[in-house]
Subunit: 360 residues, 2 copies
């Protein structure tokens, strides 16, 4: 028997479909979205306004939220102008981290949004709190400590509120290089796997991990001739090796996990999702792979909306179809099946013994 | 422009369908359910066990929750064994009042469940807090004060949590008589209407009223020959008068309102709902009229479940069909339409200025 507290249980149910599969959309991007809007409207980033960002988020949300089991947005540009467009039957996740990171030496430090809190997220109706954490398992001790402390702190906050905590780990190159190189592709599997292993430790109180694909399919031998493949270089791994990394990641993830798209194109992400689901992922939480091509049409709003209604919806439909084969979250080995889950304090005294959410 | 806070807005959206109509089921009954189980299993009330009550609630929830836009249950017998059967896309309301009432002279006093709180409801994932209040506008000053104070207190608690507050008012006969008499039928319209008017005052911070039908159709001339009509007595009102009471009630309700079934048979409740919706009700929150005939088959669980799957589902389907013509909650004059609603503090500083839910 695996015990689960009331709010975490209800929250996880709110994020998934009736069968327990996560088909979630992210529109909580800030930095990368501002860059995209600047690029497509041919102006410097600094000239992209609050209204423009909020408007694009609103359009994406309005068009695509109905296809998601849950939508992840941010409390700065997203919530205030998009909440009316997230249908009541669709779950809501809210981001807690400040966009980007602070570079300290070769390491990245994550900060929370000042003026925001998990309490506010809960009160505003969120079903889960999301934290994006830049993390490299070989970063210096101080950086790792900082990032781990932050996760522990948010985990504790969410536990007190009894709200699910979704942690997204994103690796980076310690040498300051890009993440689309063969060198990084070689390191990526262990960066993703070791990060998942670290934050599966109970001390962090993470409920769902949002993970990168544990390889770069562009450098996978069998995908080099795909439209997204890098044909001109030596392959870094075979498909069989990639499959093994996916299985290793699934073993490392001690809690339900979903795959993230990190800005790759839809065709590549579809392959990522297929392989992740095959290995045991509980679904996806996908942003840019679904809608980035549409958003690239900004500031032509009519074209943007048309692309959202056609291509982006088709992308979502294809992902949802693949996620039909995902493992339901309650079948993750942490829970061991629907009938193995027991509400914490279940029984005649539940309403008295249930303490989470009580003001300290 | 009508401003609404984030949590209240999201919560109301969670309770209604995409068009803003409430099609909600109640299974938070305690006293009346225990009486029903005792009757049908031929034993004294005191011998009905916790397990039996929780089990019946679980069966009703499992079978019917998927048809509701939201389910109202109680935190004692309902939540701990039923939460797994309320689909994530269906909203959740939790009762706050102790079942029944304390009789003080001719008046009725409502108490809250000891050991429970609106905080716990929020943390456990509720989308709204429900309070059933026995109320007679001509009860003695002290009783009215007590009941009003209670509503104010819960209203304040919900405001701090930014969770919708649904108040159910139920009238009673001050002379201690039944409510199915011609005498009470004559008083009923004004009891219901005046109660709705009282608790629409902003000081109570009620978001949705759950109201009795403002007449007793059994004594309505045009319905006396219906299967539920009282043929043998003088009618108390004509259908035109009943329609006028419904309109008056709609005028009195300063916030969105839903009609409750108060244990009447399904055929009568269907007429109630039809008339209430015609007058402007925003939907229904119905318990016994949907499932009481099925529950009366207890302890024969197989028959009970079969009746839930057939007749009860058919009852629900008929009500949902009528509620298709209900006024969306955001079209209630309090809000004046979807485009007239504005998120409180909407704008660049929303995430900072939003304060509800912050620990005091």
């Amino acid at each position: 028997m695996m015990e689960i507290s009331a709010g975490k249980f209800r929250g996880l149910m709110r994020l998934a479909d009736a069968a327990g599969r996560f088909k979630m959309m992210a529109i909580d991007q800030r930095g990368s979205l501002i860059e995209s809007l600047a690029r497509s409207s041919g102006k410097p980033k600094e000239q992209v306004t609050f209204e423009e960002i909020a408007r694009v988020k609103q359009l994406v949300t309005k068009t695509l939220a109905p296809m998601a089991t849950a939508v992840l947005t941010d409390p700065v540009y997203g919530y205030p102008y998009s909440i009316a467009y997230i249908p009541g039957h669709v779950g809501l996740l809210l981001a807690y981290e400040e966009t980007g990171y602070e570079a300290v030496g070769k390491s990245r430090y994550t900060k929370l949004i000042e003026g925001w809190s998990a309490w506010k997220a809960r009160a505003a109706g969120a079903d889960a709190v999301k934290l994006l954490l830049y993390y490299h398992p070989d970063a210096d001790e101080k950086a790792r400590q900082h990032q781990q402390d932050l996760v522990r702190r948010v985990g504790q906050e969410c536990a007190e509120l009894d709200i699910p905590f979704l942690l997204e780990t994103v690796g980076y190159a310690l040498d300051g290089g890009g993440t689309n190189t063969p060198e990084y592709a070689r390191q990526k599997p262990q960066i993703v796997i070791r990060s998942a292993r670290e934050f599966s430790k109970p001390e962090y109180q993470v409920d769902v991990l949002k993970l990168e694909f544990p390889a770069n399919l562009k450098y996978c031998r069998e995908f080099q001739s795909a439209p997204f493949g890098k044909k001109e270089v030596e392959p870094v791994y075979t498909l069989e090796e990639v499959r093994a990394y996916c299985r290793e990641l699934n073993e490392a993830a001690g809690v339900p996990w979903v795959i993230l798209s990190a800005g790759v194109d839809i065709e590549e992400f579809i392959e990522n999702t297929r392989l992740a689901v095959e290995a045991g992922a509980n679904g996806f939480l996908c942003g840019r792979a679904i809608w980035k091509d549409a958003v690239a049409l900004y500031p032509d709003e009519a074209k943007l909306v048309q692309a959202l209604e056609t291509r982006a919806r088709e992308n979502f439909r294809r992902l949802n179809e693949i996620a039909e084969r995902a493992t339901p979250w309650f079948e993750h080995r942490r829970f061991g099946g629907r009938f193995n889950i027991r509400l914490q304090h279940q029984g005649e005294e539940w309403y008295r013994r249930y303490q989470a959410g009580v003001r300290a």
